[in-house]
């Protein structure tokens, strides 16, 4: 069992045991919603270019863990560090900027702005970061082509299929060059073939750009795209390391 890990020296924490940089780490996270304890000391570690699946039954706390690590929720106790900086004490404005510039998000559905075209949706994070319209749209066009949906650029999300919409969401998550992508059940609303296509594109693009991906899923075939898995049950995370 690798969790909970032994205390790390600062040098180890910065480089990770396999030499690649630790991007994001949650340690001993606790979070309650009223009387319900959602996280009870959970944690995990994500390195650059690594895809980690977070698995567990419904209500186990896996989405709460993702939201705490992404700075969307503040844990009641425990620490979240991103590239060595502790997030838990940062003001909302700093967390918001971090999410906009360093993190990308892909959810199960309902994440694209319905009034905007797919091209405008993908360009949106860049526009919010102050990139000029022309440049933002050029990069959005490149990313739509990269995830094989260049043909839906001018369509609104409601005019595309579920599989196309998720690929547009992947393009939007990656367009601003994030270091970490948080994907919460990204294929949950798709059939097998479209789900696999989305996963293949997400994983390939992330590996090429050295992005760490935190993938929350209850589907084993989706988790099989990850490099390793962390299981969350009753708010506690656990990682099994097999011999051989």
């Amino acid at each position: 069992m690798r969790w909970p890990p032994a205390a790390l020296s600062s040098a180890e924490a910065a480089s990770g045991t396999d030499g690649s940089a630790v991007l994001l780490e949650g340690i001993e996270l606790r979070k309650s919603f009223g009387p319900t304890l959602a996280l009870d000391g959970a944690g995990l570690r994500l390195r650059a270019g690594e895809v980690v699946a977070v698995m567990g039954p419904s209500g186990s706390g896996k989405s709460t863990l993702l939201h705490c690590l992404a700075g969307i929720l503040r844990p009641d106790s425990g620490r979240v560090t991103y590239r060595g900086t502790e997030l838990t004490g940062l003001p909302d404005s700093s967390l918001s900027r971090l999410r906009r510039t360093e993190f990308g998000f892909v959810f199960q559905f309902g994440q694209l702005v319905p009034e905007l075209t797919c091209l405008e949706n993908v360009a949106l994070p860049l526009r919010l970061a102050g990139v000029r319209r022309k440049d933002a749209e050029n990069r959005a066009t490149e990313w739509l082509a990269r995830v094989e949906v260049g043909d839906v650029a001018g369509k609104r999300p409601g005019e595309t299929s579920g599989g196309q919409e998720q690929r547009v969401a992947v393009a939007r998550a990656l367009v601003s060059g994030p270091k970490v992508v948080f994907a919460d059940e990204p294929t949950g609303a798709l059939d097998s073939l479209n789900g696999e296509r989305v996963m293949r594109l997400l994983v390939d693009a992330s590996k090429e750009t050295n992005v760490g991906v935190l993938l929350v899923t209850h589907e084993p075939r989706v988790a099989a795209y990850s490099d390793r898995e962390v299981v969350v049950r009753d708010g506690i995370s656990r990682e099994v390391e097999l011999a051989g």
Partner: protein, 174 residues
């Protein structure tokens, strides 16, 4: 399924005669396939030879002598190792997994560990298949998909079992 390990696991609760062991095995794991007496005694002889069980006492009566068997410390270590080792991911291994989960509960060990270790072993094979699929032609992809769907079915059963461990523990200990 390993009959030897299962009998050892049952002996962890306390010494038993061969006849009692057969009854305990059949009651918990032998619904479709009860053990033959010959299997029980040949297995116990082997366990005795290997030092995994010892004779705890002999009762004499009208019939043949009845030996009572107890697990040794080497036997406990052997069960421990068996429970901690995932089964090779392949279809229809739920009998063995079910036995491991029940025996872990009976002996006060954490049954989730058995399931988590097995999930990790399954996912490792599924990753290899997914990687192979991404490099292969359509025929290769379809063959990999067949294996992936079977392994996924196992994992879904594992998840369902994991979510019912509390209920199962109550029934096992009843």
């Amino acid at each position: 399924m390993s009959i030897g390990h299962t009998l050892l696991g049952l002996l962890e609760a306390g010494p038993r005669h061969g006849y009692d062991l057969k009854r305990a095995y059949d009651e918990r794991f032998g619904h479709d396939k009860p053990l033959h007496y010959g299997q029980v005694y040949s297995t116990l002889s082997r366990l005795l030879r290997d030092g995994l069980v010892e004779v705890d006492g002999v009762e004499t009566g009208d019939g043949p002598d009845r030996k009572r068997y107890a697990i040794t410390s080497i036997g406990v270590t052997d069960v421990e190792g068996w429970l901690a080792t995932p089964e090779k991911p392949e279809p229809y291994l739920q009998n063995t997994l079910y036995a491991k989960v029940v025996l872990a509960m009976l002996s006060g060990r954490r049954a989730e560990m058995v399931l988590d270790t097995q999930r990790a072993a399954h996912l490792r094979v599924m990753r290899q298949l997914t990687h192979r699929k991404s490099k292969g032609d359509l025929a290769d992809q379809l063959i990999c998909d067949h294996a992936l769907f079977h392994l996924e079915a196992d994992l879904r059963w594992l998840e369902l079992t994991a979510s019912r461990l509390g209920q199962l523990a109550e029934e096992v200990r009843a």
